[in-house]
Symmetry: C2
């Protein structure tokens, strides 16, 4: 039998109801914040991602040649696509441009627990000005979305890539030379980071200061011992978040996000209950457009791992939505079939979810089926009842039955 | 500058609001009809589609090898995937299984007006029993969806592949021999069909009868001259549709849908205003599961071309939804920034869409921006007004301004 491709998933009705519920919730929250949805293709020119993340990224993505010989790939993330879309078509829009997206992304790696080859991301980007307000607005949307899902145990940790860059720059290490060091620090690979710093000629005591800095976490006051524009900036971001009522925010200078295009503020949201793979959201301010051949623009964005967020909610035992069919219509015999179809159609037109026997089963089997698909009511269309323009309404939880006039049935079920 | 891949589209905010509106509408209608959503991966093993449509299909799809040497492809449609999902995981679910889906599909062909390499389909499948009720239920959902979109000019044409098969079978032409003839008749390529029928030894007068049969269209009464199970079946389907209140239904024996797995009823929905590419929906009853190595099950389904349906609505000048931001909050100076962020957050928490100055612009520029993004109101947060716990509310259509107390602002904007 043909199977689904390795590392992918099918989603059945129960899962899809949950997934659409949270997808809609995230979308609604973004719209409340003045963000608007955009959508880009599932596949892109591979170059888009090699320009962003280096040629090595090809190893980790679904890259292939199309029949025209073009190098294309399934998108591994959406920020690059949104920035490309901006450059192609949206540069004349009033700024700031506040956009969000939801969709599939793909990575080619060994499938493992909780990591799929096809996965889903919800994210947002603001293209505008480098202000703390912009960064706070982006973090605020991420926080509002996580809050609205009902997740109880989560942490927002904010850092600033500029603080470590300032420390490194004082030793003369800047730009491309600083990047591999930052990448190791991001991954908490201290020995490797120290080796690189030694090679770069950084003195041991400065090295210690740099490593210790990445371990600084806590309330905003942990920044008091620092000076400089990065510290002032991050403090402003936090003040705005406090004004917006988000108190679950801490500083973590170990959030580095080791990619060259991050320019300043960086942040992550964790759900500690998820253990080692606890990050559910990551973002920061970045500068990508000029890599793609466009103007240099300031952007801030984030992506939420949709699958991992749902996993975190399940781990907390959150109450997940379940949709239920309102009415299942059962004709008692073939003669009643036309009447039953007329009724089911009237219910649907009135906005009541309704289903009907399609299998020509008897009443007993139909009632069993209605219970199996968790319908709330069965409506039995019988000859005698129809003479008085009535049907039998049966509550499938309590088993109670009553005769209800056809003219009242919609009101009764609404 | 990097461009989107050829034949694909990006969708900006206005387009996405329209698309999500109709996507949600279709989803809601399906749920009202007791269908439940399923979702399958963007890519599948290529074999799934060569088994369904023959090896030639590889020429028309995005097929490639993944790094593990597997033949995979971007799905060209979703019925095969849904049937595969059913066989993999859903065979123990109570039947009939009523499923719907919405998602991207892909084809590799020369891009042309209205035909994209990435396109969107909404569709449904019922896996159950071969009853006219099942077929009517599927057509009924398609009709209800098209009706609900507001499309005025559309036609549902129902045929039955069995009527032509019966005529051919009387001449001894059956199964694989009949298929190429049916395919030519489906495409109205009468000369080619006649050549094939001549080769198969069919007498000229029977040939004429067969060709004339494919031209029979009109109300259900056009079937009166026929006999046999196919004719009785299609009449029952139409009677149920009438009971459900769908009167925009006609018989068209030229609807053949020339693929081997169609077994009986076939139907199409046209929007005549679209001209040559007028079909917006197609479906029928089919038997696919056994081709994929599973049990033989009876299924009926349809797919709606989402893009073409939207095009048809546009062609009719239908009123398309437009979302508008309710409030844009403007602090008069830097001191008011914190208060403004507090207010914008309160509005959002109350379910009012609200945005705020992120660019540190002056009041005049902010009011211009608020008008440019079509906000309904601007809320100006000023020092003097704040002393009396008030803000200035400005209606951006009329230009009217009033002083509103902070405690009343949510109720005022709800």
């Amino acid at each position: 039998m043909i199977q689904r491709p390795r590392g992918t998933r099918d989603f059945g009705p129960e899962e899809m109801e949950i997934r659409r519920f949270f997808e809609d919730m995230m979308r609604q929250e973004a719209v409340l914040h003045g963000f608007r949805e955009v959508s880009t293709p599932i596949f892109e020119h591979t170059e888009l991602f090699t320009l962003k993340s280096g040629p090595g990224v090809v190893e980790e993505i679904y890259a292939f040649q199309d029949k025209g010989g073009r190098e294309i790939c399934l998108r591994p993330e959406l920020t690059a696509s949104v920035v490309r879309f901006f450059l192609n078509d949206l540069t004349t829009f009033p700024r700031p441009l506040k956009m969000f997206y939801f969709g599939q992304c793909f990575r080619y790696e060994r499938p493992q627990a909780g990591r799929y080859r096809e996965f889903f991301q919800f994210g947002s980007e603001i293209i505008g000005n480098p202000t703390p307000e912009t960064d706070a607005e982006v973090i605020g949307l991420a926080a509002a979305i996580v809050e609205r899902t009902g997740l109880r145990d989560y942490r927002i940790r904010i850092g600033h890539i500029g603080i470590l860059r300032e420390l490194l720059s004082r030793t003369g290490v800047e730009g491309d030379e600083a990047l591999p060091i930052l990448q190791k620090l991001d991954k908490k690979m201290y020995t490797e980071a120290e080796d690189l710093m030694t090679q770069a000629g950084i003195a041991p005591e400065v090295m210690t200061e740099i490593v210790e800095t990445t371990k600084i976490t806590g309330p905003i006051s942990v920044l008091d011992s620092f000076e400089g524009p990065a510290r002032d900036y991050i403090k402003e971001v936090c003040d705005i978040l406090l004004a917006m009522g988000f108190s679950n925010v801490s500083v973590d200078l170990g959030v580095v996000r080791g990619l060259a295009y991050y320019t300043g503020m960086v942040f992550e949201v964790d759900a500690p209950k998820l253990g080692a793979e606890k990050q559910i959201c990551g973002g920061g301010s970045y500068s990508l457009a000029e890599l793609f051949g466009g103007e240099k623009v300031f952007s801030t964005g984030f992506a939420i791992g949709f699958d991992r967020t749902l996993l975190a909610l399940q781990t907390e035992g959150a109450a997940l939505p379940q949709e239920r069919l309102t009415a299942f219509v059962v004709p008692v015999n073939d003669m009643m079939r036309g009447h039953a179809f007329k009724l089911v159609s009237e219910l649907r037109r009135a906005g009541i979810s309704a289903d009907i026997d399609l299998m020509r089963r008897n009443v007993g089997k139909n009632l069993k089926f209605a219970a199996a698909v968790k319908a709330k009511y069965a409506i039995i269309v019988g000859e005698k009842e129809l003479e008085s323009a009535s049907v039998t309404l049966r509550d499938l939880s309590s088993g109670e039955q009553s005769l209800v006039s056809m003219v009242d049935i919609v009101a009764k079920l609404k």
